[in-house]
Symmetry: C2
Subunit: 211 residues, 2 copies
DNA sequence: GACAAAGTAAACAGGTCTGTGTAATATGCT
DNA sequence: AGCATATTACACAGACCTGTTTACTTTGTC
């Protein structure tokens, strides 16, 4: 009764259902889940709508948690943004397939991504464009990602017998980012095919066996 | 005296120096100047700091005019953004130089722009990234610009004897935007050179006389 | 000198955003 | 059963943003 009497001071807070609220489970495992769930939602909204366009309120509301909980997992929006970008930092690992297949297949995968409804350009380029180059930490992550992808191409090129694999790898990432930028603005997945055609010419010109 | 008595109602507004305020000249010619001056300042700030990062207050304060004056020239910030992008919509006109020189020279010019202190990527791509693809008008202007540049390349290629100039023109703009995106993130003007080298290979492969 | 046009400062309305404070409540673990 | 911890709802501070209003001033022109 004491609790009830006290709670009358606070608007309409007597005893809410609170049945299947998302944050109900408080085990250590689910605490990690919560962080991951916040990241997943932030990823989707930041990427689709823009980092500046999405407030922390929106993210919390989308998950169904309070803003306070979000701030218990991430000390600031900046930290959440950094975590979002770090989580996007995934570079494909080389497979058993022939190197040329993997390189040219990358452009096929790109075209498939362009065709997806929820594609909205490169999250790293977008973040730098949105937050400005003054944001050192964001730019650093973005630059690291771009270099990692360049190295992925370079290591595949090393398996081939091409001249100047460093330069060629740089040209390939230029083609990739160019296709992405063009598709972002023009909504034309064929840009990936154009980039692939160019990549094919460059590979053949460098002495690789293509086709 | 009456005016003085009245004005006492308003804080500290008795008679300010107002000597060489920018908006002092009110001829029709200078009215155009004012609009242009607003656009110039908006351009610089929007491009360097980002459209969302700059408020209309900041622009007005930078010029030394009142916010009201700015709103007398542009009915809303959206209109100012649109005018900013339209003003950026400048495509080089073809010159007397040989077509290959013009095409490859474009990448040299790109490298020079990358090296400039105030380069910050493609204003159209940045605007789409910042404002989101839902902003139809911005995306439309951006797409039109990209297409205009592609046509510029295509018309130059038409002067050469190359096969499939449409496809090659697309590949060239992919290289241009790729170099821009890479430089934006990595601050490396050499990206323009990498794109130029790739363009050279593509041109030669298509049957153009290069070098 | 009078007047219209354009500009000015400053406050304001109404909105959004990040981040914090607080009291109450729910849950897992011992 | 009791305790630590996580979570909740909600209010709020403080900042900034777009756009408007108001009373007044400056300027060129007639």
């Amino acid at each position: 009764m004491l609790a009830a009497a006290k709670s009358r001071l606070y608007k309409t807070r007597v005893s809410k259902p609170r049945i299947d609220k998302p944050g109900a489970d408080k085990t250590a495992a689910n605490k990690r889940d919560m962080k991951e769930r916040i990241l997943q939602t932030a990823d989707r909204l930041f990427y689709l709508k823009g980092i500046r366009a999405i407030g922390v309120d929106t993210i919390a509301a989308e998950i169904g948690i309070s803003k306070r909980t979000l701030y218990n997992h991430f000390p600031s929006k900046d930290e959440l943004i950094a975590a979002y970008l770090k989580r996007r930092f995934v570079v494909a690992s080389p497979t058993e397939r022939p190197a040329t297949d993997q390189i040219l297949g990358y452009f096929d995968a790109l075209e498939r991504r362009f065709s997806a409804k929820d594609f909205r350009g490169c999250p790293f380029v977008n973040a730098v464009a949105e937050l400005g180059p003054e944001d050192r930490s964001v730019k650093k992550i973005a630059a690291a990602f771009k270099e990692a992808r360049r190295l992925w191409f370079r290591d595949l090129l090393a398996l081939l017998d091409v001249e100047d694999k460093e330069a060629l790898a740089t040209q390939l990432v230029v083609l990739v980012d160019g296709a992405i930028a063009q598709d972002l603005v023009r909504d034309d997945p064929a840009m990936a095919r154009a980039a692939k055609a160019a990549a094919t010419v460059l590979l053949r010109n460098a002495g690789a066996d293509v086709e």
